[in-house]
């Protein structure tokens, strides 16, 4: 029974709470049991707080017993939050030895606050590479995090701890951050659903060093769970200077309407990714997924935006490298010496870019965004691969043997950090080694609910499988 609670979708779990067939304390204990079983191999947590979690679970249990006085639809659900998101009372180290280990941890980010006020049970903080700098998850602070589908492979990153935890039931929900793909890369590599919402749809504070590239989003085993998280997280906070109008959107409204007659563009390479860089199993799985949407009644056509020679990879590299160049300079030299050599190399690269290059890149970002806006005006949704490849070996800084300074190995995800459009990933099959492949689903600004609705339609015919490890308890 406890094992089932840990792997149970949050929306089913709260139904059991409601019917008094399970309690938040039982669910929390189930999650903790799984942490004890799996975390030694996976190394998904930067900090664990079982006592605090049980306290929160007991408080939630009281609310459920009173009948109906719950704080939200996910009251009492065990959750994990990435080490890049500030949480009152729990350490936030940004995956870095250079940050203060002592605290005090007095600041709650908007997400931390909203999830606390919603009554969720925070199990701990999940691993991230230093300042989320790369698309894999290892750091000098805690070592490497592994992929539950295959030990020795990376779960991707930078929200790699969150997905490793989520995939095997070390928590029912997970929060990640995404500056170039850091929610979608690891969800793709570990077979989860993940949403990078429209920029600032989920408020962010303190501001990220990556500015408007940075997003916070849900990482879940079912699409409905992500919608329930959005209902809690996507609420305004005056501390986010980019906060969007409060539309009080209910992300579950119209959730089951399907995709019939929706106009969908299927783009195998997003108009700029070299075909030979896309793994053949990935290309095939994504093409098959596009066909599934057609059978669901959508009007799917193959079409790609014309980016007029602009390369989103170069534009994003200039942005994030220059941002980290300034970030690392905020640390004293002795602290900087503790930082990931790869991050320092990227920062050095950024420092040498030249102001003109960066100002031009900022302008080109607008141009790409305008092109993608016009493209998405023709379609309700866009389908692409999430990643060109599946999970590779741990302790590499990037795919294809790269050093991570060039983030261009995740071209499909980073484009939508530039454009700020909502983009999700949903598993669409396994490759020849049995590793998950992700389908990226994109829509126009503020159409996050439509992305969720389309993903839910796909999920109904292609349910998301758990990794074999999750059954080995």
């Amino acid at each position: 029974m406890t094992a089932d609670l840990a792997m149970m979708p949050a929306w089913q779990l709260v139904k059991l709470y409601k019917g008094r067939k399970a309690s938040p304390v039982e669910a929390t204990k189930a999650a903790i049991a799984r942490i004890e079983a799996f975390n030694p191999q996976l190394n998904a947590f930067q900090h664990l707080d079982p006592d605090g979690a049980l306290r929160a679970a007991r408080a939630s249990e009281k609310r459920w017993k009173k009948g109906g006085k719950r704080l939200s639809d996910i009251d009492g659900v065990p959750i994990t939050i990435k080490d890049m998101v500030m949480t009152k009372g729990l350490p936030t180290r940004m995956g870095s030895l250079a940050t203060d280990a002592e605290g005090p941890w007095t600041l709650d980010s908007p997400v931390g606050q909203h999830l606390r006020l919603a009554g969720t049970v925070l199990l701990g903080k999940t691993t991230s590479p230093e300042y989320g700098w790369k698309g894999v998850t290892d750091s000098a602070l805690f070592g490497a995090t592994h992929n539950p589908w295959k030990i020795g492979r990376t779960p991707g990153g930078s929200s790699g701890g969150g997905v490793a935890a989520e995939a095997v039931g070390m928590g029912n929900l997970a929060v990640g951050t995404d500056g170039a793909g850091s929610v979608r890369i690891p969800c793709s590599f570990t077979g989860l659903f993940g949403l990078k919402p429209t920029q600032a749809r989920v408020p962010l504070y303190p501001p990220s060093a990556q500015g408007t590239l940075s997003h916070v989003g849900p990482m879940t085993r079912t699409v409905r769970d992500a919608a329930m998280m959005m209902n809690v997280m996507a609420r305004p906070d005056p501390r986010d200077p980019y906060g969007r109008p409060d539309d009080e959107e209910d992300y579950l409204k119209g959730f089951e309407k399907g995709v019939k007659n929706l106009r969908i563009a299927y783009s195998p390479n997003l108009g700029f990714v070299e075909k030979e860089k896309i793994d053949r199993d990935v290309a095939q799985a994504v093409e098959n997924a596009a066909k599934v949407f057609r059978t669901l009644g959508a009007k799917v056509v193959e079409d790609s935006p014309d980016l007029m020679g602009l390369d989103p990879r170069r534009i994003l590299n200039a942005h994030w490298q220059s941002n980290v160049a300034v970030l690392v300079k905020t640390f004293a030299p002795e602290k900087r010496a503790l930082m990931d050599p790869g991050l320092l190399k990227a920062a050095e690269h950024g420092a040498n870019l030249g102001q003109e290059t960066v100002v031009t890149a900022i302008h080109q970002r607008q141009q790409v965004a305008a092109i993608m806006n016009a493209f998405m005006a023709k379609y309700d949704l866009l389908l692409t691969p999430t990643m060109p490849m599946t999970a590779f070996a741990v302790n590499e800084n990037a795919a294809w043997g790269g050093d991570g300074v060039d983030i261009g190995w995740t071209p499909f995800t980073l484009t939508f950090n530039l454009t700020r459009q909502p983009a999700a990933t949903i598993p669409c099959g396994l490759d020849r080694e049995g590793l998950p492949i992700g389908l990226q689903i994109v829509s126009g600004h503020a159409r996050d609910a439509l992305v969720l609705r389309a993903a839910a339609a796909y999920e109904r015919v292609r349910p998301i499988p758990a990794p074999p490890m999750a059954h080995q308890i």
Partner: protein, 468 residues
Amino acid sequence: MSDLTQLTAAELSRLYRKGKASPVETMKAVLARTGRINSEINALCHVDIEPSLKAARDSERRWKKGKPLSPIDGVPVSIKELVRVKGWPASMGSKLTDKTPADADAPAVARLREAGAIVFAQSTSSEYGHKGVTDSPLHGITRNPWNTERTPGGSSGGAGAAVAAGLGPLAIGTDGGGSVRIPSSFNGLVGIKATFGRVPAWPPSMTGELSNTGPMCRTALDCALMLNAISQTDPRDAYALPVDDTNYAKAIDGKLKKLKVGFVLRFGDHPLDIEVAALVTKAAKQFEKLGCKVEEVAAPFSYADAGRAFVIHWLSSLQRVLQLFPESRHNEFDPNLLASAKAGLRYSLQDVINAHVTRRELAIAWNLFFDKYDLLLSPTVAVQPFEVGKNLPDGPEGKANALWSPYTSQFNLSRHPVASVPCGLSRQGLPIGLQIAAGHYKDALVLRAAARYAEANPLKFPVLPEIK
């Protein structure tokens, strides 16, 4: 019959509806007045006579059938030369720009045409809108109709001078650091820089996320009528906000009772004209009479840090003009633009990124201010309209005053909605503006406050003399 050139769009609309005036009569009156006085103020750099009269006749037919496209159907509107109009060159006040007629309307222009407004003329700007006064190598000096020895401000100075002089009651300006609000203040108009993204723009501006397209009119209601059209979404703007279906003309109705108002007289250690200070302080007190609770408070963010962040954003963006044209032609730029662009090149990458970081911190500080106060009141500009032909007014001790517009640019950085509304005339008879700002997306509240204040304290708008 009243002088149609001196009426607001709302007044014209009422007359059209009742059949007491027609778009053709208005268009002819505006064109006639333009012919008489534009050469004195140099507000309009291109006037489309025949197409405008044809558009007026089309509008007249719609009103006769009782089927106007919108309340501003048949109302003449001028467009700043930084904004694309199909068939006109996007001249940017520059000798260097390609003068091939544009092949598409900017979003605001397209929406105004769809609403039936008559896009009749192009108004002057400083070159690329780079400075807060209006003279350019292409079109020379634009003058303030309240006193032609004074500047109308800028960079939307042509728009401000045109509306004040009765050359069309509506104008489109752009605002990257105050360029709608400064000329609105200097010409006795209501102008609003809406929340960033509320008014879609295209193509992307050189100054990126600082730039906004906005209405400049004689009343808040006219601004609201324009916003109803130009706030509609356009897929060409990647920052466009979702359409919220606000009817601004309706949303500006209602009292201001119980609003909390923060009044900030100074943003920092900058010169402030004594008459501006007195008139704006008086205006802030008037808000008590309108039912608000007014508190005089300090600005929430370091003026020096904000100013530096803005200047770095601004100048580093302007350096792109150097890339657009061959060096051999750089001597054709306004020397001030060339110097600004070159100064922009000298900032380091670290300076630029730090300015982005400061921008976020500043925006948060104002966000928290607006969490506490419904409205901010301040002067719009720290000086009165100054002599034409100068880039900067004289400051204390005979030095040029580089800090003459300390109030406007912070809201380009922070993206908040902000308007200027006239709050009186100086002893020399020059208009002074009150700046009103609010939290993100509260554009209607800003206009409502401007409307209630202006109703209670109307500016006597003179029919400006037709100078010979």
